[in-house]
């Protein structure tokens, strides 16, 4: 196993916030480091901070996973990022070492032990954790009853909305939508609650809002109806309904399912803050299977997110998909080799083909909200104040508003020539996440971080 040659872009993408990336860059200088070293599985260094003892920094190359003796609450901290920035810019300075220092091997050993324990736990039958089937069934029944009551309320409210007219609904104060959403949270249907909250933002979303409001209300109504018929729906569809309602399958249960091995190209990562919760979506695509997969990570706002696999790398490994009619969300059960840099993104040669994947996804699961796609041979064009991606056949789809910084970077990197672009499609617009230009992967800014 050899270490991947990360690019500075990829290292920046691992940072929990722009400030950390900046401080990390500042540490990418050999004079900040008392010692530096690497071997086939890890990089390490001692970074001279303000105190008398240098901080000990280790990066496990496989994940990558970080460890630092500094007191920072950020993860990864600037020292870990600094080490990777330094390695990305001047790999020769981080010399190959004959032996790992004790503190490095100790930590790596500890990680291995933990990983084994986790694997054992996953492999063990979950039965031993279910002492009383009767109590469990009672709890499940109670929960279903609460949800049923909550959904009845929701349906009544949706029907009232259509009866009185959307014009009136649009004038309701935001607090009223929040109240309905809060009732659904109480009813343990957090997914439906989120959809209701999003409804509340539609009347302020500009021209054409009644159509968008009706779409979303209809989708919610469909969810309510499907939830009532859960016992007669085929299991994968029922699983999608449960997910849309907000009952997520437990990780241990998912990890016990059969997996899918492939080399997974990490198309891109998007992090958003919803309702004081940071959500990180990592889109993967299998090279052999052609399957699209979504890794989700969550953290409370202000808390660090566990970094997923690095965008623009190829990760050999085994994914386990959450059950559903269109299994999309997955967990990375294990890596089977070292990640490598991607010089191309597996994807679609035309926008029509990409939309074909989207149609198929909606056909299986009408509550699909987004799909990560890689588009080949696309160029950026402008139509008034809107950016579009154009394919070689001359068809175009719009970029999301607010993707200006990404658009300028795409233009700069491609110079108007075709590129491979990874983007998240939400049915209305594409949000570019990354691109390959001249065989090099670029992380694109997904918020107003750069440009004008």
């Amino acid at each position: 196993m050899t270490l991947p040659a990360w690019t500075a872009d990829q290292v920046s993408a691992m940072a929990p916030d722009p400030a950390s990336a900046k401080s990390g860059q500042g540490l990418a200088s050999p004079r900040k480091w008392v010692s530096l070293g690497r071997d086939a599985r890890a990089l390490w260094g001692e970074c001279q901070g303000s105190g008398s003892t240098p901080y000990r920094v280790i990066v496990d190359a496989a994940e990558p996973a970080f460890r630092c003796s500094c007191p920072s609450r950020k993860f990864p901290c600037k020292h870990g990022l600094g080490l990777l920035f330094l390695y990305a810019a001047q790999p020769a300075l981080v010399a190959e070492a004959e032996t790992e220092p004790q503190w490095v091997s100790d930590w790596l050993a500890m990680r291995e032990a933990k990983a084994e324990k986790k694997a054992e736990k996953a492999a063990a039958p979950p039965a031993e954790h279910t002492p009383d089937p009767a109590a469990q069934a009672r709890r499940a029944a109670q929960r279903e009853e609460r949800v049923r009551a909550g959904l009845d309320d929701l349906e009544q409210w949706l029907l009232d909305g259509v009866r009185q007219g959307l014009a009136a609904a649009g004038q309701r104060p935001r607090a009223e939508w929040e109240r309905v959403a809060a009732r659904l949270v109480d009813a343990q249907a957090a997914g439906a609650a989120r959809l209701v909250r999003e409804l509340g933002t539609v009347p302020d979303s500009g021209d054409g809002w009644p159509g968008r409001l009706l779409e979303r209300m209809a989708r919610l109504q469909l969810l309510v109806q499907a939830a009532r018929r859960m016992d007669v729906l085929p299991e994968p569809v029922a699983a999608d309904v449960r997910t849309a309602l907000g009952w997520t399958a437990r990780q241990e249960e998912v990890l016990a399912l059969p997996g899918e091995r492939d080399t997974w190209t990490v198309l891109g990562v998007r992090t958003e803050t919803e309702e004081r919760l940071r959500v990180q979506r990592t889109w993967l695509r299998g090279e052999q299977t052609g399957r699209t997969a979504l890794l989700l990570a969550f953290a409370a706002a202000g808390q660090p997110l566990e970094p997923g696999p690095t965008p623009g790398t190829r990760v050999p490994g085994e994914l386990v998909f959450y059950p559903g009619a269109l299994p999309l969300r997955a967990l990375l059960r294990q890596r089977t080799g070292a990640p490598e840099l991607a010089t191309a993104l597996p994807g679609h040669d035309s926008l029509e083909a990409a939309l074909g994947e989207w149609s198929a996804a909606l056909g299986r699961n009408p509550w699909t909200e987004r799909l990560g796609l890689a588009l080949h041979g696309v160029t950026l064009v402008r139509d008034g104040d809107r950016w579009l991606l154009r394919d070689s056949a001359g068809a175009a789809l719009p970029l999301a508003r607010g993707a200006d910084a990404a658009a300028w970077m795409l233009l700069a990197a491609g110079g108007g020539r075709p590129l491979q672009v990874a983007a998240e499609w939400d049915g209305a617009a594409l949000l570019p996440l990354g691109a390959v230009a001249d065989g090099r992967y670029l992380v694109l800014p997904t918020s107003a971080e750069a440009g004008t």
Partner: protein
């Protein structure tokens, strides 16, 4: 009107008022059958159910639209890509280093013949918008790809290199913006600059017109002469004065010819002879007679008749006349280098008021005509207390490869305090210093890192951006100077920057 639009309209008004939706047909038999199956539901349930079916059908059937034509592709990047290290340093600088370091990166890249990584161009162009001091460096350093990109974003027009953008900015910009455009054009394409000035001359404000004429001094040539000559008859005095000053720096201009015709009978070089030569050790002198009148044609050529307080009017006239002739004229006329003539003037200075007039008039003429040789000669003999900014003005005329040895020479003579010519030359030496000058500056200023030396602060702040970083770090190391602080940080950052291009 599509089935969906009818549905939205019905929902907007409400089924209470509007009743149940009419028979909705999407034209797809399967879908219509599914819609028909909702017939027994209540009006709002039917509406929502139909909407759910149509929504899924519409979303899944989404097609890509026809595209506007593609952009014309950028020219290929000619330069080699820069190293990963250099790219990483630039990214670090863009994250918030002092703007002059961006200029330094761009200079080093140009010297090495490597390109700015294309993906960093947007941030770099935006840095040029935010920091006026690096705007020209950005415009010069972004290559063909950068100019192509800049032409697509009006905010970055300054770097597009397009004359269209310049013409547009000229017509609609503020005074400061127009002046910037004009100065830029005069450096790259002087006739285009003149054309802009003429295009709006009739309607521009007098203050702008005077500033524009002054800006024509850069890249001035005989092409500009007819226009400048006509500006000598402008209604406004500030415009006339500016035109006379610019024409006075143009060796072939009619104004210079008229001025020299007036001066030649008055000024002469007197070779030492007889008794005088023994006393003055072979030093020639300059003899100047004062003009007797300031006639109409002299006033037209920008000679102001009324002297400033405390100066004789005839002396004042002579001084102005001398300042409007490029000093190289005298060097050629008498066949003597600048240094000799300045020494002659200084020798005469002790004897008469005219001598002093000569040195200051020639200094003014050297600045005006941007004469590097005269500027250098004048700097070599600059005194401790020259008038404000003069040393800096002169130093700006001397090319780096000559100013650097001159700075070394002055450093060996002067004490390095804020008013010394050495410090002022260093302040004006806005280019990377070599190891020798770096060492000399740090040796001359033992208290260089003393945080409380307010007087030297400006000089040092500038020096941190110019010292040869590796040498400076080595010297500081030898001195065992333990000072950290932003000044030393900056040197280390620059050392990293330089190493990235080695």
């Amino acid at each position: 009107v599509s089935a969906w639009e009818r549905l939205v309209r019905g929902a907007l008004l409400g089924t209470e008022r509007q009743g149940a939706p009419d028979e909705v047909s999407a034209g797809d038999p399967d879908l219509d059958a599914a819609i028909a199956a909702l017939a027994d539901r209540s009006a709002p349930a039917r509406l929502l159910g139909t909407a759910a079916l149509l929504d899924a059908w519409r979303r899944a059937g989404r097609r890509a639209g026809a595209s506007p034509p593609p952009l014309e592709a950028a020219p290929e990047v000619e330069e080699r890509p820069c190293s990963a290290r250099a790219a990483s340093v630039l990214r670090q600088l863009l994250a918030g280093a002092p703007p002059p370091l961006l200029a330094e990166w761009l200079t080093l890249a140009r010297t090495a013949g490597v390109a700015v990584p294309p993906e960093l161009l947007p941030d770099l162009l935006t840095a040029g918008v935010r920091h006026a001091e690096v705007r020209d460096d950005v415009a010069r350093g972004i290559g063909a790809r950068g100019r192509w990109l800049a032409a697509l974003n009006p905010t970055w027009a300054y770097a597009s290199g397009g004359t269209e953008a310049a013409a547009e900015g000229w017509e609609t910009g503020t005074s400061a913006e127009r002046l910037r455009i004009l100065r830029h054009l005069r450096r790259t394409d002087p006739p285009a600059g003149l054309a802009l000035v003429r295009a709006t001359w009739a309607t521009d404000e007098p203050r702008d017109r005077a500033a524009f004429v002054e800006a024509l001094a850069v890249g001035v040539g005989m092409d500009d002469e007819p226009f400048l000559e006509s500006a000598l008859d402008d209604r406004r005095k500030e415009v006339r004065t500016a035109a006379a000053t610019v024409l006075g720096a143009l060796p072939g201009s009619g104004l210079v010819r008229r001025m020299t015709e007036r001066l030649l009978p008055l000024v002469s070089l007197v070779e030492p002879d007889g008794l005088l030569s023994r006393i003055r050790a072979g030093q020639p002198r300059i003899q100047a007679a004062l003009p007797t009148e300031c006639d109409k044609s002299m006033r037209r050529d920008g000679i102001e008749p009324k002297p400033p307080y405390g100066m004789g009017e005839r002396t004042w006239w002579l001084r102005q006349m001398l300042a409007r002739v490029p000093p190289s004229f005298w060097a050629a006329h008498w066949g003597r280098p600048a240094a000799d003539l300045l020494a002659a003037a200084r020798a005469s200075e002790r004897a008469s008021e005219e001598g002093q007039t000569l040195v200051s008039a020639w200094t003014e003429a050297a600045v005006n005509a941007r004469d590097a040789e005269w500027a250098e000669a004048r700097l070599r003999t600059a005194a401790g207390q020259e008038h404000d900014g003069l040393v800096g003005q002169l130093a700006a005329l001397v090319p780096p490869e000559r100013l650097e040895p001159l700075a070394l020479e002055r450093l060996a003579r002067d004490r390095l305090n804020p008013v010394s010519p050495a410090a002022q030359i260093l302040q004006a030496a806005a280019f990377p210093w070599g190891p020798a000058l770096t060492r000399a500056v740090l040796d001359a200023a033992p208290a260089v890192l003393g945080p409380f030396d307010y007087g030297m602060r400006e000089v040092l702040r500038a020096a941190a951006l110019r010292l040869h970083p590796q040498t400076a770090i080595a010297v500081l190391h030898e001195k065992r100077d333990a000072h950290e602080g932003p000044w030393v940080e900056l040197l280390h950052l620059r050392a990293t920057l330089h190493q990235a291009f080695e």
